[in-house]
Amino acid sequence: MGAYLVRRVLLAIPTLGLVLIATFFLVRLTPGDPAAAYLEEVTVTRSQLEAVRHQLGLDRPVPVQLLYYAHRVLRGDLGRSYFTHQPVLAMIGARAGFTLELALAATVLSVVLGVPLGVVAASKRNTLLDYLVSTAAVVCYSMPRFWVGLLLILTFAVRLPWFPVIGAGTPGNPIDLLHHLVLPAVAVGLSRVALLARITRSSVLEVIQQGFVQTARSKGLAERGVLFRHALRNALIPVLTVLGVGVGHLIGGSIVVEAVFVRTGLGTLLVQAMQGRDYPVIQGTLLVFALGIVIVNMIVDAMYALADPRVRYR
């Protein structure tokens, strides 16, 4: 297990290296002079521009700039925003919590609803219930998250004033935070609920036909015991994979849903930075998103290796 984990961590390094290079070139490839953008003034003198170019390191050869950039990033220096002139890392730190709690809540929701729905659909195969779950799954999977979010606001915040319309709640007040989290979490998680229900259903159906389940049944074990003690445990392995792959998508979904609910998370930060062409912030946010996704994927792989020993020897 230890060796597997070390190998997995080593494999993540080239990915992060590529992301680092990609975010570096993100600014280099973009039309316009970053130094001019930094000064954000319409008329600047040549000497002013040269000074800023020197300050930002833009007058050095590209490979040197790349090394300089990598060195800065590794020290945790993501630069400063062109507009607020705040350190990017501090801006990210202030917002990351909101995105993290949203992605986490959506993950919990998708497991708590999706897995049982899939098991129920599989155990009542070809009944109206199974048909309903499967149909609902395809429909939910086809709806854009921002639309789900707006419909939730319209229904459960405007028509029925049960939940707040926008914002992330007062920090330090867990009940208020949770209250603000419900609708966004449903908006992000709904399509994952659908997908997990579908995967669980087909995975359970596959396992149910295997020998050891037949044996358990022929021993006279109640159907409930067969389903939960024998079938589900084995059926969960593909579910775990989908869950792992899905974490990235949940983070992607959070970007959009934050915009709908005006939560000041990383997604909102990224979108605002893109609208204002604030490149250091775009670079930094993308890097942090990438790092987060790589770490989560690593954790999921480790869990996967724990659940299925065969994985470690592949």
Binding site: S142, P144, R145, L154, V271
Partner: protein, 281 residues
């Protein structure tokens, strides 16, 4: 004498896929015939008709500038379908090329392809699309390229797997035995056999591309105004959610129904063309 039963094309035996195909065919007609079908100019503002609910004059109501939402949605289908299909053609071409080369040649080519696939697949499509739009800038062509670059890796993974499987088949060994070169084998024996799975994965990807385009439009960084897009109809409607919920409702319905149709057709095609994939998501 009884007439022999006419057999339907196999994909039409799948009820969901039939429904999906019917929806897509209708949409294609709507997009092509937009100038004749749209009751009004989608850009014409009418300040006497601002935020009117659905009614006889405006079937789906009007927006904050008095523009007819039905006409905007009809014209919006053009942007969605154009971006969806072009982006997937681009992503499909890159993905098929990379997947075939990696799977067929193996070795360092394959290692490079797999590395790139892994990096791309570990990020959500919308994040990749956002990053590429940040590099390329907005605009119709750039949005197409950005989404194409965001979806190619999924195609490449499927095609690479197929190429590896086919490479070991007897007919490939036989072709090699009679002296066929790599290029000939790839073109004549491998490529034609990946078309089934390719069509399946591309169908789902058009749905993903349309969702991504709509999301970019909603975030205000997609196809620039004044081109009406479904994402923008929803985005502009959100500020008037309380007093005029029809804009977001119909705009979102248009997106959802289209993506649903593509998913239904994709499910049907998968069952038909690629039974081995039947149990995957």
């Amino acid at each position: 004498m009884v007439a022999p039963p006419r057999s339907r094309p196999p994909v039409l035996r799948h009820r969901g896929a039939t429904l999906g195909l019917a929806i897509l065919a209708t949409l294609a007609v709507v997009a092509l015939a937009a100038p004749w079908l749209a009751p009004r100019d989608p850009l014409a503002q009418d300040f006497t008709q601002v935020l009117k609910g659905p009614g006889r004059a405006h079937l789906l109501g009007t927006d904050q500038l008095g523009r007819d939402i039905l006409s905007r949605l009809i014209y919006g289908s053009r942007a969605s379908l154009l971006v969806g299909s072009s982006a997937v053609l681009l992503g499909g071409a890159i993905g098929t090329g990379a997947g075939l080369l990696g799977g067929f040649f193996g070795g360092w080519v394959d290692r490079g392809v797999v590395g790139a696939i892994d990096v791309f697949l570990s990020f959500p499509t919308i994040l990749l699309a956002l990053a590429f739009v940040a590099i390329l800038g907005s605009g119709l062509a750039n949005v197409i390229v950005a989404i194409g670059l965001a979806v190619w890796a999924g195609v490449a993974r499927v095609i690479r797997g197929e190429a590896i499987r086919l490479r070991e088949q007897d007919f490939v060994t036989a072709a090699r035995g009679v002296g066929a070169g790599d290029a000939h084998i790839l073109r004549r024996h491998i490529a034609p056999n990946v078309i089934g799975p390719l069509i399946v994965v591309l169908t789902f990807d058009v749905g993903t591309a349309i969702l991504t385009e709509a999301t970019l439009g909603f975030l205000g960084i997609g196809v620039p105004p004044p081109t009406p897009t479904w994402g923008r109809v929803v985005s502009e409607g959100r500020d008037y959610l309380r007093i005029a919920p029809w804009a977001i409702t119909f705009g979102g319905l248009a997106i959802s129904i289209t993506v649903l149709a593509l998913n239904l057709v994709g499910d049907g095609l998968r069952d038909l063309l690629d039974p081995r994939l039947r149990h995957e998501g």
